[in-house]
Symmetry: C2
Subunit: 344 residues, 2 copies
Amino acid sequence: MTKKIIIAIDAMGGDNSPDKVINAVNFFLKKNLNRDYIIKLFGNEKKILNKLNEYKIKSDLIKVIHAESVVSDEETPLTAIKNSKNTSMWKCIKSQIESDSDISLSAGNTGVLLVVSRMILKMKDKVSKPALAGLWPSIDDLNVVLDLGANIECNDKNLIDFAELGSALHKSLFPEKKQIVSLLNVGSEEIKGTETLKNTYKKLKELSNDNNFLFNGYVEGNNIMTGKSNVIVTDGFTGNVALKTAEGTAKFITDNLKKALTENLYTKISLFFSYFSLKKFKNKLDPRKYNGAIFLGLNGPVVKSHGGTDSLGFYYSIELCYKIVKGNLMKQIDNNLNHLSVEK
Amino acid sequence: MTKKIIIAIDAMGGDNSPDKVINAVNFFLKKNLNRDYIIKLFGNEKKILNKLNEYKIKSDLIKVIHAESVVSDEETPLTAIKNSKNTSMWKCIKSQIESDSDISLSAGNTGVLLVVSRMILKMKDKVSKPALAGLWPSIDDLNVVLDLGANIECNDKNLIDFAELGSALHKSLFPEKKQIVSLLNVGSEEIKGTETLKNTYKKLKELSNDNNFLFNGYVEGNNIMTGKSNVIVTDGFTGNVALKTAEGTAKFITDNLKKALTENLYTKISLFFSYFSLKKFKNKLDPRKYNGAIFLGLNGPVVKSHGGTDSLGFYYSIELCYKIVKGNLMKQIDNNLNHLSVEK
């Protein structure tokens, strides 16, 4: 019998928790009938049990572990270290080293989550900086983009680690695909960009091979989604601005579209005819489907859900955790990092 | 009698020139009947005169100045300095100092345009670096965003110059509005970002006043378009990535929407009812309306049109030139820079 996938969830973090968390768990249980996983819920035991009752969940795949307090949104990473040892977030991550959890998931305070994860799980030996990776829709499927904000300044060694970590993540999620890495830059010619980018370009070109990833050179912002590469590497400042700018642009366009399609009787009639197609369109772009940023480079994976997402969004991040462990992310990372030390 | 606005146009740069340029000029002549401007067309005289004939343009508001050659797309900024003195681009910009042109417009090679403009017009005394500014749609109207790629690395002095230059541009285009400056960053709290950003933040806070601009702190990528500020300041690397990511996202969404709305008979019927509203929606987001990046910080303004735009896009960039000169951009810049030297 193969070992079960053990997902540790901070049941108290983010808006409307634990309700949205338990609702999402309920959905996950119904969708995944192969019983090859265990979900550990960390937080106020009474509240969680009440919610499990409310949703009529009785499953031996669920375990509840009590934690007295919750990391507040106002807590800063600096104070969290001494204040957060009794929180659901801390105990959740700690279970990756003190018991048998394979991955942690939280919708709580991002800054604290990054600091606490790093403190508890420690950085992998060969990694220079951990990174926050996200999934980004593309013509083909989903791209991995990193760093999304864990490190606002990066050198070439950091960016090369991100390429190795990001392609390991992509391989764990899409094992049938070839990982194609690109560096985000302001032009596609080899001479463009900062000195750091030029040095990274040279080294990634040397590292490019059939076993880990193929390096596809520079990519500009307008080609992140065109399917030319599926792992996009950048520093945390640029990645964060790019991600949020894309979110803002998408919101601006869809808000204007909504206004246009509901402005009069004619457009409302038109919706009658286009309803299913527009629903499919909306569904494809639904940001809840990409919910979950993955913290890479530690001795164990941690997934951060958007704090404001709903139960469907949180469900997708549980699904992401399941896929990451099933795809053997940590082994893929070790493979990639070994290749790094051999080649260099 | 007030002096006429004199717009110098490189008639040969970009795709389908001089045809698209002359077509655009024709449109501009028909739209602007107040005859307070002169358009100088630089390029192959014979070709331009033929096109003017073709479009039946006979106007004393048009002057044609012959130039033997054209800057090719392959020319690099380095070689352009000795190769480009007989080109339409060079002569066009040169007319700002050798004759009476107020502004230059070209759809030609961007790198060469930046270098040649800087060589001919020289940087203004008080400016540390020139910047490329663009117009970006927002809920309210249009924002100015800079730098979009002229300087991939910037210090606090550069960013402060960009705030002064950008708000002068915004004031020349929207004199009735208050200029609200924000710095693009990865969070809105004062402690976020690089040291350069933190230093810039402090200085902009001191410079904020009722005469030049109000400083509104940091803005994140998702709030560029929400109308909270109308002048967004960033370094050329981040600005370029943000702009292209927004373009790529917009294209991804509208391509998917088009597919959804034409996929079957029902959706095609729906278009019959939503045609005018969707046209208005499309029109609002039409990138041709924002065509034209403005090179700021030299002793004269230069506007770069997208090389690939059509005659309507080029028309909008002529309109932009007209507005910039009418709004007294150079005087606004001097005012802002004076304020800078007094306050510091």
